[in-house]
Symmetry: C2
Subunit: 132 residues, 2 copies
């Protein structure tokens, strides 16, 4: 499993995504309805979002805050997705990066500090897991 797969893996329920993005369920569904995100579904038809999806939602939120309307945002996110794709084509395989990554990720903790409901600060997850 490489980075690409990892980031497109359906992991999060809509409830979690709400907390991560501080968007309402209504908003998220509305954006999907208008072709801005494409979460997977469980067998029971419930939405499952990937890191990429969350990234995209954060980007959407960002643009909304800046006054864009959905039509404009749609163009923007499609655009930035294309760019990413190109980058991907040009960039080498990421198995090497993975090794580095592991090396970097050599620190650990133990007891979750009872964070409970972390409201992700705008763009934090995005910046980490994504690449705009």
């Amino acid at each position: 499993m490489n980075d690409k797969e990892r980031r497109s893996m359906p992991l999060f329920s809509i409830g979690i995504v709400m907390k991560l993005t501080e968007l309402t369920a209504r908003q998220i569904r509305y954006y999907e309805e208008h072709g801005l995100v494409f979460p997977e579904r469980t067998k029971g038809n419930q939405r499952l979002f990937s890191f990429n999806d969350v990234d995209r939602l954060l980007e959407i939120k960002d643009l909304l805050d800046k006054g864009l309307n959905l039509a404009g945002i749609k163009l923007m996110v499609e655009e930035s997705s294309k760019k990413e794709k190109e980058k991907n084509v040009k960039s080498k395989d990421n198995d090497l990066s993975l090794k580095e990554l592991r090396k970097i990720l050599r620190n650990e903790l133990k007891h979750p500090d009872r964070l409970g409901q972390v409201n992700l600060r705008q763009g934090e997850l995005s910046r980490f897991f994504s690449n705009r």
Copy 2:
């Protein structure tokens, strides 16, 4: 938000964790009952697992496969958690690592390849997000 927080963040429903770990719900709950993992809970009392929790479950599964019983496993995972903690104490703050991480994570994809149900290969997530 640093790496540590990110990894202890309650994100995954038990359903997802089942797929990630290939453990049954019964098993996961049983391990919790016996003090091997400590997932958070939603307001409605549903379990929410972090990356660390998933890591730990993968480690447990590993040890089970090797014939250990829960008592032994409990000792092991407690041990390895302690080690992680020590490492953490010694290691510098990871905001620097974060910068490197971002640099490394400069590749993207677009359309999830309809993976649907990825059964995480044993230890893959673990190796990526954790550090044993």
